[in-house]
Structure formats: C-alpha cells, structure tokens
Symmetry: C2
Subunit: 331 residues, 2 copies
C-alpha cells in the first residue's frame, strides 16, 4: 500500500480536504498551510492514487488504443503521430493489442471501461454490426481503417482504393499489361479496399483478364512466398502491385532469387512507404500514406471529442496519399 491522502493530512495536521485543495489548487489555502502540506507530501513520497481520482472525477485523461498489433514500422509510425498529440494535450495512452483474435478484442474493450476517456479502435477484422454492441456507448470512439459506412462512430480512413488505383494506373501507363497483385488477408478491410483499387484499375483499362492474384499476410516472408508462387505458375507477370511495402520487400527478394531483375524483368510497386522502402534494392516505388498524420488525425479527433464531451459524431475523415516514384517501377 502506498501512502494516502490521509497519511499526508495527518502528518501535516490538516484535514484531507485541505490536502486535496493544495494538490489541485482548487481553492484558497493559506501559504503556511500549503507549505506544510507540500512538505508532508514530499516526506511521505505521496502521489495521488489515480484510480480513486478517476472514480470521483469520472475523468481519466487517458485514451485507450485497441490495435491489432504494436510492432512493425506501420504501427510505429501511427503510434508516433498519436503519441505526439496525446503528450501535447496531456493525455496518457493505454494500449491493448487484439491480435486479430475476436475474444481478445472483446476482452480488451471491456478492460477499458472506466479507465479511459475515449477509445481509438483499429479493428483488424471486418466486424459486422455486432461490433456496435461491444463498444461502450458512453465515451467517444474513433474507428480506424474500418468501413466508412459504419453508422455510429467517427472514422478515420486511408484512401486505400484510390491509392491502389493510382499505383496500378501508373504501371499501366508504363506499358504493363500483365500486372499481378499480392493482396493482404481477406478479413482485413483495408486489404480488401486495396484489392478493389487494383481490380477497378485493371477493369477500366480492359485488362480484367490479365489479373493474377496471390495473397500474403503483410509480412516480409509472406510477400516472398506469394511472389515465388506467382513466378512459378503460368505466364510470368511483367509487373507486380504489392499491397504493402513489407511484402514488396519480400517479393523483390524472391524475384532476385530467381535470377530476375527489378525493374527490368518485373516492375514492382508497393503501398505505405515505410522508412525501409527507400533503402530497398532497388528503392521501392510506392504509395506514401502519411501514417504519422493518420495517427495524429485520429488522436486529435478523439481528444477534441473528449474535451467537448461529444459522444459519437460520425464524422468521416480520410487521409490522403502520394505516389512516390523510385526505381522499382522502372520509370
């Protein structure tokens, strides 16, 4: 047990109300008394119990984050953006990683009740309306990377479909026809959107029959495997749209292992522009998503909602993208 406000009060010879007032300077208290209290607190190494504090004030100055994971450059960047604005507005962050597991996701959400003023949820899974019942109704919530048509929460999204479209369009303009995709997992919303962008681009250019698809899990090794698979079977594509940079790096490895060259034999375009991409060999052409901005936007929104005591405002926000042309596409 740590020292409590009572100990400090007794030690200073005042009431607990006075101690509280000193710590929150919420009312007049005589300078000598004030000093006594401060001294007493320092002596006892007292700091206020935040759990008790949240209970009475029903305010925690904490934002809950529910993410599918916390590692890798993707999350790292997003986190950085979030951390920046949270720190700036004096909020703490509590993180729970749901690992794409439904049960864990549910548990994480429950664990947040009463400990946070707002929630940012990046739902790994494409969750139906039952998600609504899980999410607490009494605090603001921002959803990341989840279907825009979600009826009751603020959302911040990446313009995945359009980004993918632009990436593929770029390859087509360079003269490619046989363009394959390495897509992400089926239950990930943004992976599906990137696939949609690819499909739309191919079809609007009458290349629907040229489509070739392999799937990975957004990791380097899975990209390598998927690319190997693509190279091994059927007619070799001349270009590859890979739905995230990590997989693209893996894919380029696989291509090199086959004795082929990027971009001469196969052009590659990725998605995300993680820091590693500009150091890849060859440097990776990709769609840059400003992940830092993404996190920043989400956190700003939730902090504002908390401050204004708004509940769900169902605002739709979208962060943009930019085609970064490097050498892997051969242009």
């Amino acid at each position: 047990m740590g020292k409590t406000i009572k100990d400090v009060a007794r030690n200073a010879g005042v009431s607990i109300s006075t101690v509280s007032r000193v710590f929150n300077n919420t009312a007049f208290v005589d300078e000598p008394t004030r000093q006594k209290v401060l001294l007493s607190a320092k002596e006892l190494r007292y700091s206020p119990n935040q759990a008790a504090r949240s209970l009475t004030k029903s305010e925690t100055r904490t934002i809950g984050l529910i993410l599918p994971g916390v590692f890798g450059e993707y999350f790292s960047e997003v986190l950085r953006g979030m951390d920046m604005v949270a720190a700036n507005d004096d909020f703490d962050i509590i993180i729970s990683s749901s690992k794409n597991v439904r049960a864990k996701f549910e548990k994480s959400i429950r664990a947040m009740a009463g400990r946070v003023d707002g929630l940012v949820v990046m739902s790994p899974l494409v969750i139906g309306p039952e998600l609504r019942d899980l999410i607490p109704a009494d605090i603001p919530v921002v959803l990341l990377n989840s279907p825009e048509q979600h009826p009751s929460f603020d959302t911040v999204n990446i313009n995945n479909a359009e980004g993918a479209f632009v990436a593929v369009h770029h390859l087509i303009r360079l003269g490619h026809r046989r363009i394959a995709i390495i897509k992400g997992l089926e239950n990930s919303y943004d992976a599906r959107q990137r696939y949609e962008g690819y499909r739309t681009a191919m079809e609007t250019h009458g290349l629907g029959t040229m489509m070739r698809v392999a799937a990975g899990a957004y990791t380097i090794p899975s990209g390598r495997t998927a690319a190997a698979e693509l190279l091994a079977s059927g007619e070799r594509p001349t270009a590859l749209f890979v739905s995230n940079d990590a997989m693209a790096v893996g894919a380029m490895e696989a291509i090199a292992e086959q004795g082929l060259s990027v971009p001469r034999d196969i052009a590659v375009v990725g998605f995300d522009d993680i820091p590693m991409s500009q150091y890849a060999k060859p440097p990776l052409t990709t769609i840059r998503v400003d992940l830092h901005l993404f996190g920043e936007t989400a956190m700003k929104r939730i902090v504002a909602a908390v401050r204004d005591k708004q509940k769900h405002r169902t605002e739709r926000m979208m962060v943009g993208f930019e085609l970064i042309v490097r050498q892997s596409c051969g242009s």
Copy 2:
C-alpha cells in the same frame, strides 16, 4: 455516465453483491439468478468500471511503461517482446513517453500511481540518485538501460560495452588501424557504454592515438552529418564504428555521396541489427541485440514480481549480443 452495477442489480431484482459475484464468479449463485443477472447486464450493456475495481482490489492488471519514445524500429521491437508476454499473462500496458524531458518524466511517473501494478522504466537520461525519490516505493520496478550499479531496483541491460568491444575488435582483426566512432548523445547511458567499449578495444590494441570521435543522436540524418564531418577533416579513417544502425545507414549514405565505397574505402560496423540493416546497401555488419528478448525479459521479470508481490529485488539481468557479419565490413 455508463451503467453501473446498481443499475444491473435493480434491473435484475437482486442486490449488487449478487451481481458482483456473478461477474467474478467468486461464490455460489443459483443458476436462474445467474442467468437473470447476465441477461440484465447484456441488456444494459454493462461492463464493470475498472477504476472502481482497482480501487477496492488494489490490483490493476496493468503494467506501466515509461519510455523515451515509442517509435522507430528499436522501440517497436522492444514493445513487441513486452506486448507478447503481457498479453499472455493477461496484463494491459499503459505507455508514457518521456521524450528525454525531465519534467515530463516526472509527470509520467506520477500519472502511474494507482493505475499500474508494476513499472518498467527506460530512463533516457543518466539520472542520479534523485531518481530514487521519484519512483514509487510500493510497486515493483524494472529499470532498462540504466547503470547497473543502481542500488534499489531490478535492472535489465544490454551488454553494450562488450558488444562495442567485439565490433571494434573485429575491425582491428581485419587490419584496420584508423578506426573512428560515431557515438550517441552524452546523457544516454548506453551510448556512453558503447563508447567505452570502443575506447577499451582501441587502447588495449595500442591504438589510443588513432581514435577519432563524432557524435550523433541515433537518427539517420544525424549519422549522415557526423560521417560527413569525419570525412571532411583530417586524415580519413579506414573504418567506422557507428553506435547504432540508424546512424550507420546515414553514414553510409554520406560516404556514398563523397564518391567513396563501403567497404572498399571505408568499412562500417553498426549496432542493434534493426530489420532495415540487412537491406541496407551494402548489408550492414552489426552487433545484433535481441531487442525482442530484451523486452520479453523485462516484462517477464515485472510480471513475476507482481505476481509474487515482491518489491524491489535488485536483480541484474543482461541480454547478450551477437556479431552479425555482412558486407559492410569487407570481410
């Protein structure tokens, strides 16, 4: 205001004690009653207020993390290790990034009181004994990357000095004499240790007079600047020991910009083995620190301490390293 246990109790026509018992299944309760309660809770979308819960149980199932930052591959890896074991043992994580700012550091620590069962602190600064007064005395604490001689806490450290020694020794064995170092910031404990390792290696081989030093801030650009500085003045070194990989990547860029080649003109060895390093051009020889294990070890220790209700046990742990020879050293 969310729904409370009282609402559920009233709704179900039972006392709050019964509801509590159902949720914690901590005592017998009739099956029909149980169902009534569960139903009532679901109807009201109730989940227990964790703040109140921690207050009575004085247990939070949460570990506090105080880190200098949360971004970049370094922290990402460490976090991953921590997250893994925390999730496994059913602990949540609350993160506060202190940004190397003393005041923020202090505030972060205060903000943890009563909200966490244990604390993992990676002190960015070399903090003297006054650190002791800041850190709460009533919960277990693990210190990361801080002086081993610290008298009152568990510590988990990276064997920085020896790692640096091995790196430099490797260069010496390859025949290099004029070996410069790009070191980190002065107030970082591990940066200082890495420098010590460099110095020891040089001196024990009678190369004390060959030492050349530049300093960076553990970022890519700062590594580039430091290297440029080293190349511009005096007799050019034939090898570079760079105290972290991010700076090494920057340094290799600077070298390439001068029209020089790694490793032909200048050999480079880094430290950390971040994922990017194997994709650098040329692939970077470096000291691999198993950051994942580092985080894992720290979290395991703190979780165990919490479970066993131990306070500070002043256990010293060290995670090892491994020399990863790639092409940048030319061997």
